[in-house]
Subunit: 201 residues, 2 copies
DNA sequence: GTGTTATACTTAACAGTGTTAAGTTAAATG
DNA sequence: CATTTAACTTAACACTGTTAAGTATAACAC
């Protein structure tokens, strides 16, 4: 019974191949500037083959995005294990969050800006990766409050403030790459540090 | 010599008509889903006529956004006249900024998220309205630093931190209307206050 | 008033897009 | 060996932004 399994393996491989090609093109040239034909030509298949593996172009981007969000979650959870001080963990997590957004701007914008626009009704879907990322942030903030490092404001608000800050700087850096920003890392650090300082007792 | 003036007036009128039609369609259906043909049909001209008034679709979007920014700038400058305390002015301006975004969410996204995506290379151009808005913010922050209320970090960075915060919370509130946010005004105030506190000495 | 020029707009077309229906080819099954 | 099934391709549709060429009308000079 090895034949069916080989076939399934090959299908999975091609799916992954499409996904990788799409990611590379999306990241380098931007979602709008990448056509299905371009992706197809990169993997040396006809354009219509893609539709045997993905519903449409949005679904393809969706899948690319889900992959990278899982990466973000991995990165963050790895980080958590190595750091004890909750403030330091929050700082590093914030930085990792922004850097992820800058590394995969298309994915970031799709998930946190574009998808909500077309998928109204739910903020972050139940059980979605996006929700898990916010859960992670909440846990961290919660620890800072518990240890009385942060002011005793409610956890939800505090988490949302933190999210606003990193979300804001991420999008500004993505959307206005030619604005005369302060040196990028300095800006990110200052945003995170300022917010943390402001949240302290 | 009234003929030339009448002609000029008519040209201006048609330009404005195109602009209004474009704004309405962009806001209601989203930039990508609006074609030049759709705009043209709305104003009952041929599609190519638009190109006599605007370089291309991006330029049209640009002009729509410029209008939006002028409105924002007006709102802000009205505010400035009434307040003396620079921190209070900054707080109120931040709030006004966010509220402007929430009142015209589609316009805000068009200007600060969608346009940069399609009109690359725009830092904030010399003399542009966007630059004036940031100048406004800079002046305010500068005063806070001069009066030694804020830490002596450079003005640019400080301004950018402030912008990140308000931009972030504005977009989150727009894009995830069904997320279990803290009460809206409380969240906005906390974001602004936290950032201001973090910037203080 | 007539001929010419400039202005404002339109028609037709190009090269590209996402997507689908129908067709092909080769492998697996009975 | 015949038939069915799966994987992939070809051709086409209805769109997109944009441009070059054409047209009709209004303004101007004489």
């Amino acid at each position: 019974m090895g034949i069916k399994e080989r076939k399934a393996r090959e299908k999975k491989q091609l799916r992954q191949q499409i996904l990788s090609a799409a990611r590379e093109l999306f990241v380098n040239e931007g979602y709008e500037n990448v056509s299905m034909r371009k992706i197809a030509s990169k993997i040396e298949y006809s354009p219509t083959t893609i539709y045997l593996y993905f519903k449409d172009k949005a679904d393809l981007l969706d899948s690319v995005c889900k992959e990278t969000l899982l990466n973000l979650l991995n990165t963050l959870e790895q980080l958590k294990r190595d750091i004890n001080d909750p403030v330091e963990a929050l700082r590093k997590s914030g930085k990792a969050y922004v850097e992820f957004g800058l590394e995969y701007p298309q994915d970031y914008k799709l998930t946190f800006v574009i998808r909500p626009q077309f998928q109204k009704g739910l903020g972050l879907q139940e059980g979605s990766v996006g929700e898990k990322v916010f859960d992670y942030l909440r846990a961290m903030v919660s620890e800072c409050i518990r240890q009385q490092i942060f002011r005793q404001v409610d956890v939800e608000t505090t988490g949302q403030v933190m999210w606003s800050a990193v979300h804001g700087v991420t999008l500004l850096l993505i959307d206005f790459p030619d604005f005369p920003w302060t040196e990028k890392d300095k800006l990110i650090d200052t945003v995170i540090n300022t917010t943390i300082e402001g949240l302290k007792a």
